[in-house]
Point group: C2
Chain length 119, copies 2
């Protein structure tokens, strides 16, 4: 396994800031589409640059699908999880399961215990 390895790249990928949060936010609504502004509003303190960067990365990796309606104003762009994106949630669940098993469960996420996180 080197830096070309998919597993390694995937690990680096999900290690980036906001990536998991964005996936979670899209997952919360199941397959419902979310507007860019909607995501920005919910992801407290995220900057527009990072959000658009991450969305592009996720789109490129095939976890997120973008749909634009440019025919009429205002232009809307909506994002949703693809099949692989939804499937990826199970990977995150694996991480969470491991984290909760080996202590670390006391840490809170935005004032809620990890145990009650929607993941």
């Amino acid at each position: 396994m080197n830096r070309k390895c998919t597993v390694f790249k995937t690990a680096r990928f999900i290690g980036k800031r906001w990536t998991l949060l964005i996936l979670l936010e899209l997952y919360k609504g199941k397959s419902r589409r979310k507007r860019y502004s909607e995501l920005k509003e919910r992801l407290i303190n995220i900057t527009p640059k990072i959000l658009s960067t991450r969305l592009k990365e996720l789109e490129k990796e095939g976890l997120v699908e973008k749909r634009i309606t440019a025919d009429k104003f205002p232009i809307k762009s909506e994002y949703s999880l693809t099949a692989s994106g939804r499937d990826f949630i199970s990977v995150i669940r694996g991480i969470k399961k491991w984290a909760l098993k080996w202590d670390k469960g006391s840490v809170i996420c935005e004032n809620r215990d990890c145990k009650h996180c929607e993941f």
Copy 2:
């Protein structure tokens, strides 16, 4: 989930370079202990600084156990996976499984297909 969240921290953690490789190297020998120099030799191109940094991080996170014999020369320090470290391999397997499922399986790891990786 914010930057204090364990899941998020874990994700960032495994996203660091060499971390997975070190865990794999320690896993290869099952519970066998590995010397610092042994790890350095096997992990091609790793610098001593990064190796010692990662080992400290892993030790701090409780995935790796260090044992030193300083009573006689030469000083030996040996590393091995803890129970949580061994358990973490399953998380990596989850990542691999996902990666192989959604294409990406064609990428090679040090001239071997991911499918044949020991993880």
